[in-house]
């Protein structure tokens, strides 16, 4: 299948927005203007944009841990300023300042985050079970990295999705690293996709630097799930330009990554590749591309302004105790 011009514009726009938000998060973390920690997604934003740009509002989503899901959420239509406010401890945050780096947008069917890698497989199997029971054509998008597939939960989640033919898409963003350890060291086969194939889940491997390539397979997988034909697995091979989390050294195994690796990676920057493509295909002009960058920069600036202008959440202990249980 081929993408329409409108779809390509959407993908390119969200990719640029993700790029601007990612750079802002990195900068703010370095400036001490974010609470907790941040795991940059730089270099690996294409799979999330592709996976989430064509979801419906009522499609449950587990955004990837890397990049703290910003790429995924903004592509799904969630206003990131409320997450940025949360990440700065403000009462206007999406979790009312309770969480720091967790997100919760139940109105968009993004219910939670967890610091545990591999935690994604458990709620999502329940989302998908619920979606199947409701029968309204909802699709669950479950995004996580190669490291998460080391968890037993990955097997259980895929097993149940396969057994029950659940409407779920497993988007595996394989950037070749789990923290510092390389994929080759920690996984016995060339592709994680074989795990899904072993459970009879249709699986594809795709170039994760190419947002349009990932989108083509993601749209097909979403469509398949929406028609009640069961789960799919996508392995997007992507690149991690930055360290695992800000403040740590960037290692390959237990030694610093080589300069050549960084230089080689930069040639496959997803925004550079997408820009070349939209220009070559005459989907967008350079002026239009510049306009998209400017709008993204403004959106980020507005989000920062909103977060910075908001009040720090300051409930009393009694008020906090009263919020442990739902009425």
């Amino acid at each position: 299948m081929s993408l329409t011009k409108a779809q390509m514009v959407t993908l390119f726009t969200n990719l640029v927005r993700a790029e601007h938000f990612g750079k802002m998060m990195y900068r703010r973390m370095m400036q001490g203007k974010l609470i907790g920690f941040y795991h940059p997604a730089d270099g690996a934003i294409a799979p999330g944009v592709a996976a989430c740009s064509f979801l419906n509002q009522d499609d449950p989503l587990w955004p990837h841990h890397r990049g703290h899901g910003i790429t995924h959420m903004l592509s799904k239509g969630i206003d990131i300023k409320y997450y940025l406010a949360e990440h700065t401890g403000k009462s206007t945050g999406c979790c009312n300042g309770h969480s720091g780096f967790h997100y919760g947008f139940p109105e968009h069917h993004v219910h939670l985050h967890s610091g545990f890698i591999g935690a994604n497989f458990m709620p999502t199997v329940g989302y998908a079970w619920a979606a199947k029971q409701r029968g309204k054509g909802q699709v669950v998008m479950n995004c996580s990295g190669d490291g998460s597939y080391g968890e037993g939960r990955a097997h259980e989640g895929m097993l149940m999705a396969a057994v029950w033919k659940l409407p779920e898409v497993f988007m595996c963003e394989n950037n070749g690293y789990s923290i510092f350890s390389t994929f080759e060291e920690m996984h016995p086969t060339e592709d994680i996709a074989t795990m899904a194939q072993g459970l009879d889940i249709p699986a594809v491997v795709v170039d994760g630097q190419d947002v349009f390539a990932v989108a083509e397979v993601a749209i097909a997988a979403i469509d398949r799930a929406r028609k009640g034909q069961g789960p799919s697995f996508i392995e997007a091979k992507c690149l991690r330009f930055k360290e695992h989390d800000i403040g740590n050294r960037d290692l390959r195994g237990y030694k610093p990554r080589e300069d050549e690796e960084y230089q080689e990676m930069q040639k496959r920057d997803p925004v550079v590749l997408a820009t070349e493509r939209v220009l070559a295909d005459k989907v967008l002009s350079q002026d239009e591309i510049d306009g998209i960058h400017e709008a993204a920069a403004n959106e980020v600036a507005d989000a920062e302004q909103f977060a910075d202008d908001s009040e720090i959440a300051r409930p009393t202990i009694e008020e906090m105790e009263a919020m442990v249980f739902a009425p």
């Binding site: 449950p60 945050g93 999406c94 979790c95 009312n96 309770h98 969480s99 967790h102 997100y103 919760g104 139940p106 069917h109 219910h111 939670l112 967890s114 545990f116 935690a119 497989f121 458990m122 709620p123 999502t124 199997v125 329940g126 989302y127 998908a128 079970w129 619920a130 979606a131 029971q133 409701r134 037993g152 939960r153 259980e156 989640g157 097993l159 149940m160 057994v163 906090m320 919020m323 442990v324 249980f325 739902a326 009425p327």
Partner: protein, 320 residues
């Protein structure tokens, strides 16, 4: 007067709540066939989409309930045995328990967890162990255990209607207890203790099979020592007021808990009594708990658990 066994009282609560609300469903391992009778034949009425058997994968099984609860369902998870709820402790306690608060206290997570617990059947550490104290330490989870068939029905029905994760295990030692249980639905609020027998010399706090030990003792000691027996019924929230009210009368208390002694519910209750009712005490608090040793699988089990003899010794000690 119609009578039901405890286990069938649970079954009736589940059945009536499932009839009343189509978002209620149950997930477990071989609950269609019914390893224990509380789910027996429910699949015939509600079908396999509402009495759901999963692969033997506790984490995925719980995940099914957890995710579905966030998407608007009201699941009941049956762990079969309590300790199976520790296989996925991250999901049960950290993710489910803390979900509501951590994500802004705006989206409820209605979810019931149940399982068989209890010593007396010589089934060893992994099948007999108690879990209520461990779950009581996890913020955001309500924890309750019914001791009688009447309470079992009302408390299970209430747990299913609660908008929070509720851990409500049941003790194999009481599953065949039988008494009058009304046919129409009724609801017992979680967080309300019940004075099962009034007395004036000493308060004994006991639950599940130990409640029956305490009641038998109270009967045997009547005339010599007047024993007030309270079933806490719910551990989180815990009804401290009823305990303090009793202490104002008896000034002595023995707390019986079949869970381990260390950092157990009996320790927490003792600490709260000291903090809030120290002046009411005429004698030190005594606890009768499971010593901190693994629950043996053989006859050694009998030597470890609280018994009538141990409770009587504690009563005589505080009344001396």
């Amino acid at each position: 007067m119609r009578e039901l066994t405890y286990i069938n009282a649970i079954r009736e609560a589940i059945q009536q709540e499932m009839r009343a609300d189509e978002t209620v469903f149950m997930v477990g391992q071989d609950i269609r066939g019914g390893v224990y009778p509380h789910t027996k034949d429910l699949v015939d009425e509600f079908g396999e989409d509402r009495i759901v058997d999963t692969p033997l994968a506790e984490t995925g099984m719980f995940g099914t309930a957890y995710g579905a609860a966030l998407e608007g369902f009201r699941p009941i998870v049956d762990f079969m045995f309590g300790s199976c709820a520790f296989v996925n402790f991250n999901e049960t306690s950290i993710m489910a328990g803390q979900q509501y608060f951590m994500h802004g206290a705006k989206h409820p997570l209605p979810l019931v967890m149940t399982a068989a617990v209890g010593m007396g059947k010589r089934i060893g550490n992994d099948h007999a162990m108690f879990i209520h104290s461990t779950f009581c330490r996890q913020p955001g989870i309500k924890v309750a255990m019914a001791s009688t068939p009447y309470d079992a029905k009302g408390m299970f029905a209430q747990a299913i209607r609660d908008n929070n994760p509720v851990m409500i295990p049941w003790h194999t030692g009481v599953m065949q207890k039988r008494e009058h249980v009304p046919e129409e639905p009724y609801y017992i609020p979680l967080g309300v203790a019940d004075v099962k027998r009034e007395g004036s010399d000493v308060t004994v706090l006991a639950n599940s099979e130990q409640l029956y030990n305490a009641l038998e003792l109270a009967e045997e000691l009547a005339g010599e020592i007047s024993v007030e027996v309270i079933d806490p019924r719910s551990f989180v929230p815990f009804d401290l007021d009823t305990v303090l009210k009793s202490l104002a009368k008896t000034n002595r208390i023995v707390i019986v808990d079949e869970d381990w002694e260390s950092c157990g519910m009996a320790s927490t209750i003792s600490a709260r009594i000291v903090e809030h009712g120290f002046d009411l005490l005429d004698a030190p608090i005594r606890r009768v708990c499971l010593p901190n040793i693994p629950i043996p699988g053989g006859y050694m089990e009998d030597y470890t658990r609280p018994t009538k003899e141990k409770i009587e010794a504690a009563i005589r000690d505080v009344c001396a």
